[in-house]
Amino acid sequence: MRHVALACPALVVTFGLMVFACAEMLGAHPLTMGPPRSVPEAIAMRDEAGAARLIEEGADVRAIGLVRPGILTDQPLLVTPLEAAVLVDATAMLDFLVARGADVPDELACLAADAGARTARARLGERTCHSGDALRGVLARP
């Protein structure tokens, strides 16, 4: 009895991992949301390599994309890659996108301020913004 009790937690972890790995190899995605479906979603998931791959494969760096609920917020979001980079405060990705032709709108600095993205805010500089307007604008997209 004690032998089983002792081994049980470790066995559960090991066999759980086996099930997880087998499911993944068979194409399922247990415990994950699957691969990113757009450049903004890849950035929101902090899969910047995935974002770079999608861009190299021809994805538009300016195109608004869907970020599924549960990744950044409980609701789905429609954001550009730059906005996604600001929301997760990924400054290196911001530069990467700009180098590949993304245009930086003035409101992006306001979004950085609203999202509390400190490094992105420092990178984009100060702008005169109405607090919360930029973030509300993004969240209100249909």
Binding site: V4, A5, L6, C8, V13, T14, L17, M33, D47
Partner: protein, 475 residues
């Protein structure tokens, strides 16, 4: 069963090996998902691939602060063997290291009973779940030198705990030389061999031990007297102290006049880190969270709980065996525990200038082995003597102990998947890194393009594990 029968592998042995194979498959599945990393790796590969193997090794005898010629030889040999298939070979090498380490763990623990097989499950969870082990699998260097030393440490113990034979003396000397010239912590091989000998193991003879001690002296003369390699300076790295990490200039300001205080702190906290998972790299992070943060971090509390419970079992084991130890009567399990104690003290001592989790990984793997034999003893002892009430309490204790270590194992698996993302993201910005420091030639640039393509395009990241529950296991 006779003593000889008891030494032979039986169904519990094979069951343990089968279970360990599943553990290794699980870790390897995640390990193979991590590409070769950029930091401390791409530049090393560029350097290792230039010139001849001989010139590469020779150059390493002329560096300052570090003496690691055989590590560079190891990288170069795998590089040449790979024939351009770097991902497969270097990542495969890392997986092979984990396989070898796990086999050696089982050879040391020698499961022959149901209790031992059950203890192996906890021991393996401790082996991969302990914080000191993380750096050996999360750092995707071309060749993870720390992992190499762990294998050498277990191999040294395996040689020392076997039946006496002349070839073990030769193997001990060769192993020490290889390990000491791979990474500085390779010196711990001598500690393993001497500790095993003092605890009654005679796999390596007195003369074999004498040769290893001479080799240690020779290493020190070579390093400090002949080559003048020295050691890294006090002010070369930031280091943990109290609740914070001090920058080199802060260390110089606070301890420049009294470096011994800083050294003693590093040694003391290194021992505590192995035994209690707190502090980590000199920083009392969990204590700070408990004292000053409103929200408790579940993973860090689990880590400390697992280590405290494990250390309680080790203390119980030592207390129970004290009479025999004072009479210098040691079983094989006692010898493993003795090696753990010696390696922990020596490992802490060599961390006097700078302590971090991965440096303590040799002590960590012997902690796992010692825990496995101590837990086995706990089950077997109570089977004979305990009342129903004590058995019930003990069962609850064992489930909590095992559960806590299993939770730590989940944490390291989650960290492996997350590391795959972090390493790949480094490759997105490699060109910034190239501009900042490394200046590769045409071959180096071709290597960069191939490693980058491997990381981003040929082996894209498997999906990141998301969910609130992740926070229960990983900060």
């Amino acid at each position: 069963m006779t003593g000889l029968d008891f030494d032979r592998p039986n169904r519990w042995t094979w069951l343990s090996y089968a279970y360990a194979a599943l553990v290794v498959v699980g870790v390897s599945y995640l390990l193979l998902d991590i590409p070769i990393q950029v930091s401390d790796s791409y530049g090393n590969l560029v350097q290792a691939s230039g010139g001849t193997l001989g010139s590469l090794v020779f150059e390493q005898f002329r560096t300052h602060g570090f003496l690691r010629p055989l590590l560079w030889a190891n990288i170069r040999i795998v590089y040449d063997l790979s024939g351009g298939h770097y991902y497969a070979w270097f990542r495969g090498w890392h997986v092979a290291q984990v396989v070898v380490l796990t086999i050696l763990f089982l050879r040391l623990v020698k499961p022959r009973t149901a209790a031992a097989a059950a203890a192996v499950a906890v021991g393996l969870a401790a082996l991969i779940g302990i914080h000191t082990f993380a750096g050996t699998i999360l750092e995707a260097f071309p060749v993870n030198a720390y992992m190499t030393i762990l294998i050498c440490c277990y191999l040294a113990a395996d040689i020392a705990l076997g039946r006496p034979h002349w070839w073990r003396d030769v193997a001990a000397a060769v192993l020490f030389t290889f390990a000491a010239l791979s990474v500085e912590s390779g010196l711990l091989i001598a500690v393993v061999l001497v500790a095993a000998y003092l605890a009654g193991a005679r796999g390596v003879s007195r003369w074999g031990i004498a040769v290893v001690v001479l080799l240690v002296a020779g290493y020190l003369v070579l390093r400090f007297g002949v080559l003048g390699v020295g050691t890294p300076e006090l002010t070369e790295r930031s280091s943990g102290f109290g609740f914070a990490v001090l920058e080199p200039e802060d260390i110089e300001r606070r301890f420049g006049q009294h470096p011994r205080v800083f050294h003693l702190y590093n040694v003391g906290t290194s021992v505590l880190s192995v035994l209690f998972s707190e502090p980590r790299a000199g920083v009392w992070g969990t204590t700070y969270n408990v004292l000053y943060r409103e929200e408790l971090s579940i993973p860090s509390v689990t880590n400390v709980a697992a280590s405290v419970l494990g250390t309680v079992v080790l203390i119980w084991y030592g207390w129970r065996r004290r009479t025999d130890w004072f009479a210098r009567r040691f079983t094989r399990d006692d010898q493993l525990v003795a090696i753990f104690v010696a390696v922990t003290l020596a490992n802490a001592a060599i961390s006097y200038t700078y302590t971090k989790d991965v440096i303590l990984s040799p002590a960590g793997i012997f902690y796992a082995a010692a825990l496995a034999v101590a837990v086995k003893a706990l089950i077997e002892t109570s089977s004979v003597t305990a009342s129903h009430a004590r058995v019930a309490i003990l069962t609850i204790f064992l489930v909590v102990l095992s559960g806590a270590w299993a939770a730590r194992a989940i944490g390291i698996h989650l960290a492996l998947r997350a590391t795959g993302a972090v390493v790949r993201n480094e490759w997105v910005y490699i060109d910034d890194g190239v501009r900042q420091g490394i200046e590769p030639d045409a071959a180096g640039l071709a290597l960069k393009r191939q490693l980058q393509a491997d990381a981003i395009f040929k082996h894209p990241l498997r999906p990141i594990v998301l969910g609130e529950w992740v926070k229960w296991f990983r900060d």
